[in-house]
Symmetry: C2
Subunit: 350 residues, 2 copies
DNA sequence: TTGAAAGCGCTAACAG
DNA sequence: CTGTTAGCGCTTTCAA
């Protein structure tokens, strides 16, 4: 009735510990422990210990050391969904930077559900993560405020909440870029497919968009504004609703992301309209598919935000200081879906 | 010179442990430990202990319990990249199932690089993961064979390697479906954009495709075969190369995934050809964008594979048995990019 | 520098 | 069912 230890056959020798090395070298466990944390060439003892460790195939046990040091060497990242490629890119960069710093990353997806957010963060905390990267913050701030009370270093990425350290894209500026571009292209009746209202990201983009429109003496009327969400499907539904109310608009800004723009394109086409010609379509983020599909969009520095967030968090963990918030500028990428008239507009089902 | 314990101000009371509860209830630590693992209503003691734990805000320390039990409650998933939405979907399902079973998931991305694969797996092992889900297996089997020697329960997902427990899509059948469809549509000159050759997935799809073509007395000649990889860019480059050699083919199967098909579409359009009309394009996986973009593709049960893999792994961890391999059938999804002639083919830049 | 000793929080023999 | 005891592998006082 032994505990179910994995693979402890009779002959399977136990994994070497500090004890093993100590016995092999005739040193004490504490000396070995110390030596292992110096470089091999720093002292003769260190060299001996490192050699023995190498020879015995010693691997440190982070669990045991965690228990003692109260540091897990793990950071938590909470995202709304990793199937959103923007979040996946952020995660990837976080992982890269964390790995370099000797940390592992535990991710948790919350689907932007407040209850799930709390649950998953608590779970990460019980795993003793040394810090948190929050990529699913909500505009109302309740969530981020709660995070701040946890006593764990943290930093927001991509999504803003007022008063918290955050690595952000200037979404407001991004929205402005889109409006300026469309108006310059001669569009006067502009429609807006919004993202979720809990996200400061889409809120700010819409804000910037509307402001520029207003500055030009125009407006985005209520009936040309519709919820577009964050997914292809919701973008499609949003555009269908828009088309049900009006056919007079000549351009639409899908400020949630590029996927909603793809959905909008799909709905336009289904309605017999030619995207890019009858209706200009602009997305946000510049995901890989946007290029192939000739979607005008705004390129946001997601990868950089991920790196920045991770680097900031690691240094916050080291030094105990609060990270400095940073904002990066987005860039407009004009493609066929918003530049008319254009030869390449016609032709191609895809 | 204390260790840098996070947030241990004078007044910040220490986090409650079993000891705290033991003292509060007058019981011993071991009784508390046991009671906590029973349901509250199972015995009077259990009820008392649970109540006290609740009142004191006790949270179990998985690190400490790991050290003792030699089980971490964490499973590792190794993927080639989470920015590949197919892998992200698998991860998401794995996470869902694992969470339900009380496990956390540690992911590692390897970019399909053999050295990175080893490194990251070793890292997961040093974190004492209780099992591994391998979603980036290679066809040559060396990697999977190595995994098998580790003495940790594991299961492959999506990507096959001979002789290992795996949750798979019948990719060969998927390839056949595509060829049958295209030939039925009247295509005779078929091009093939392959995926990476280390992946059994794309290899099998290409195999199935070629077999059907051959059964119809046709063939996919060397000069109509080109590497398409797994990304939009590589798909685009592949199609450019194809077009540089021939303009006579009327259909192309991008067997790597849908993204390479988007890339191919882009290249076709840049060459003045109309995708879906001049050249039929078929992808693989049926990602969300494929629907909006009218791409014919093969729907593979990624989500299900993720669930199956996680469930199989958990039960392997529990019972010590080797998981049973499972294969699921793919499904052809015909859209505008391969059904000609078609009204909706014309028009639309996107 | 080094080693002895204590202990992180938990679980599991073992004996009552 | 309960408590006592021991110890997982590691780090870190403390004294030599």
């Amino acid at each position: 009735m032994r505990p179910p230890r994995p693979h402890d056959d009779a002959q399977a020798q136990a994994r070497p510990t500090l004890r093993t090395i100590a016995d092999a070298t005739g040193l004490s466990v504490s000396t070995v422990s110390r030596a292992l944390r110096r470089d091999a060439h720093e002292s003769p003892t260190a060299a001996i210990v490192h050699a023995a460790a190498e020879r015995l195939g010693y691997l440190p046990d982070p669990v045991a050391s965690s228990l003692r040091t109260r540091r897990s060497g793990v950071i938590g990242m909470v995202a709304h969904s990793l199937t959103d490629v923007v979040q996946a890119i952020i995660y990837q960069q976080v992982d890269k930077v964390a790995l370099r710093g000797g940390f592992d990353v535990l991710v948790a997806a919350t689907a932007d559900d407040p209850e799930t957010q709390r649950e998953r963060v608590r779970l990460l905390l019980s795993r003793r993560v040394d810090g948190l990267i929050i990529a699913d913050a909500h505009r109302d701030g309740a969530y981020a405020d709660w995070i701040a009370t946890l006593g764990v270093p943290y930093v927001l990425a991509m999504r803003n909440a007022p008063g918290h350290p955050a690595m952000l894209c200037d979404d407001y500026a991004g929205g402005r870029l889109v409006a300026e571009h469309l108006i310059e292209q001669g569009h006067r009746e502009l429609a807006l497919l919004t993202g979720p209202d809990y996200s400061a990201v889409s809120f700010d983009r819409a804000q910037g968009f509307r402001d520029v429109v207003r500055e030009h003496g125009l407006e985005v009327p209520e009936h040309l504004t519709e919820y577009g969400g964050l997914h292809t499907e919701s973008g499609q539904v949003g555009m269908e609703r828009l088309l049900g109310r009006s056919r007079s608009f000549t351009a639409v800004f899908c400020c949630g992301n590029d996927f909603t723009a793809f959905g909008a394109v799909s709905a336009l086409r289904a309605a017999g309209l030619v995207p890019g010609s009858d209706v200009a379509v602009v997305g946000f983020n510049d995901v890989a598919a946007a290029k192939a599909l000739q979607l005008t969009t705004v390129s946001s520095p997601q990868a950089e935000l991920g790196e920045l967030a991770a680097a900031a968090l690691l240094s916050a963990i080291e030094t105990g200081t609060t990270p400095q918030s940073t904002t990066r500028a987005p860039e407009l990428v004009v493609r066929a879906s918003s530049s008319r008239p254009l030869a390449m507009m016609r032709g191609g089902s895809v």
